[in-house]
């Protein structure tokens, strides 16, 4: 792969991560620079929200970025399986049980399988990474995720030469996911990536946030995070990963194809039909900030799309 800016030495080994100095936050007692690139201030609403912790390795962050407070990350969610309001998931997902959980890997792979979540995760190295998150609705966050690289999972399954795409599917269980009782979207939620996007080292299967297990409202127990794409690509509560030769149908594209494309790369130059994507409002901050091509990850991922008309392939 061309220079993606992610040499292995940059990826924090787990031991180092745990030993790393805890850092002080928005009080500004210690600047991020003092602690090296691995820490950044958490912007906070109140003194109580100030937390001392190491958040992981930051990728694609801008000098002015600071982590979105945990209370916002875990209370302001789009997860239609638990309701369409931003605060619905945190309210309605409380009783959801994310264990036991099985994940199936099948389709065009030499080694298909169905795994208990623990067995599925065990062979992979768990990493903490701070990513920018840009919602298609023109708001954004900076979130410290914990997860494994999707590429490792796919390599173990050994995609065949015919495999070109990866399809992801959310649990379908209206009894446990009350939002699925209404035909808001086509259930179960489906998402997809091109195989090279899925193999990219930035693409994560996430199991935790802010150093803890993923809360139900954030997509427990397993979700996708693709930081250069709009947030709706980050499918939650995944039960199936299928390799295909044809481009998978995706839920939001089925719902409104003029508004939500398959690629959904963050692009300030291509407006959503109902609003501009040139700027964004960072949750917890008042002033708009410019939206960056590929959400700030152009250096790492732009080459995946060379020669493509990004206005047509939105």
């Amino acid at each position: 792969m061309p220079n993606n800016g992610l040499t292995s030495s940059e990826i924090t080994p787990e031991g180092v991560y745990h030993d790393r100095r805890q850092f002080l936050t928005a009080a500004g007692l210690i600047g991020a620079g003092l602690l090296g690139g691995a820490s950044l201030p958490v912007s906070s609403r109140s003194a109580g929200a100030q937390q001392q912790r190491s958040l992981g390795t930051p990728y694609g962050l801008q000098p002015t970025d600071s982590a979105t407070p945990e209370e916002d990350v875990t209370s302001y969610n789009n997860f239609y399986e638990f309701g369409t309001g931003k605060d619905d998931p945190a309210l309605n997902a409380q009783e959801f049980r994310a264990r036991p959980w099985t994940v199936k890997v099948d389709g065009l792979v030499a080694k298909p399988g169905q795994y208990q979540l623990e067995d599925f995760l065990k062979p992979s190295k768990v990493e903490d990474r701070i990513y920018r998150m840009r919602c298609v609705e023109a708001w954004s966050m900076v979130i410290p995720w914990r997860g494994i690289m999707l590429a490792e999972v796919l390599r173990r399954a050994q995609p065949t030469s015919a495999a070109k795409y990866v399809e992801f599917t959310t649990l379908l269980d209206p009894a446990r996911m009350p939002g699925q009782r209404y035909p808001v979207l086509q259930w179960p939620y489906n998402e997809g990536l091109r195989l090279d996007e899925a193999m990219h080292p930035l693409t994560l299967l996430v199991t935790g946030v802010y150093g803890k297990d993923l809360p139900n409202q954030n997509g427990a127990p397993l979700r996708l995070v693709v930081p250069w794409k709009y947030g709706f690509k980050g499918i939650k509560s995944i039960v199936r990963i299928r390799l295909t030769s044809a481009m998978p149908a995706t839920s939001w594209n089925i719902a409104a194809s003029d508004e939500y494309g398959f690629y959904a790369n963050v692009n300030p130059q291509v407006d959503h039909p109902r609003w501009s994507q040139a700027t964004e409002r960072r949750i917890g901050q008042f002033r708009r900030i410019p939206t960056l091509p590929f959400n700030g990850y152009a250096e790492q991922v732009a080459s995946l799309y060379s020669g493509m008309d990004l206005r047509r392939n939105y």
Binding site: S44, R45, S46, E71, D72, S75, Y76, Y80, T84, G85, K86, D87, W139, V184, L185, A255, A256, D271, P273, R274, W275, S276, A278, T279, R281, I283, G284, F286, R287, R288, I289, P290
Partner: protein, 217 residues
């Protein structure tokens, strides 16, 4: 004519006007300070996205007050509370005030003209001309302006029949408002549909009353 039960309230209860005024003002007295406090003092009364929450609440209260204005005539007919009629103007002017707050919030706190260095009036113009839900919302606002300006007793006296004709726009504006709301949401259309159903009910009631009046001597 329909029966007029009066429900024992043939005359306006004392303090009603003041009560109505406070009731209509109260949402704004909560929403605006809560939103500003969240944005500039770090509280989170309105959740994680105070701008959007405040903007949406002000929009919904605009619709509610427009509905209340339209509902007075059917309510009066059903109950015989004729003293309600003079409060239409109060409610209508409150609806106009809320839509002004909604529009100010949108312009300066959401789009952030003159606030963000990355946003200019050209962006507002683009929103107004290229995004149908914003065009429709703005049209509703523009149509409300002459109604607010001609809400005085003097205007009613001066304009005569033309006043009645002009103020028929009170039927058009809430319809535009509900369409604006419906188009603004993604897939969560339940609430805007509920608003649409309430508006339809009020309009049907008004239609029935108008017909009854037309046949009555």
């Amino acid at each position: 004519m329909l029966t007029r039960p009066y429900f024992g309230i043939a005359k306006q209860p004392r303090g009603f006007a003041a009560l109505l005024f406070v009731a209509a003002l109260l949402p704004a007295l909560v929403i605006v300070p809560a939103m500003l406090s969240d944005l500039f003092l770090g509280s989170s009364w309105l959740g994680s996205d105070a701008t959007k929450a405040g903007e949406h609440l002000l929009g919904k209260w605009t619709l509610r007050l427009l509905f209340a204005t339209l509902a007075i005539t059917p309510l009066r007919t059903l109950t015989g509370w004729n003293w309600l009629a003079k409060h239409r103007r109060t409610l209508g002017l409150f609806a106009f005030s809320y839509v002004c707050l909604h529009l100010l919030t949108w312009t300066f706190l959401d789009v952030q003209v003159l606030v963000s260095e990355y946003v200019g009036w050209a962006d507002v113009w683009k929103d107004l001309t290229k995004r149908p839900f914003i065009t429709i919302g703005m049209l509703g606002f523009v149509l409300l302006v002459p109604l607010a300006l001609t809400s005085t007793r003097a205007s009613i006296a001066r304009m005569g029949k033309r006043w009645r004709a002009l103020h028929r726009l009170t039927y058009v504006v809430p319809i535009l408002g509900v369409i604006h709301y419906l188009m603004a949401v993604k897939k969560d259309i339940e609430e805007p549909l509920l608003y649409g159903a309430i508006l339809a009910t009020i309009l049907v009631c008004r239609g029935l009353i108008a017909r009854q009046r037309a046949v009555a001597p």
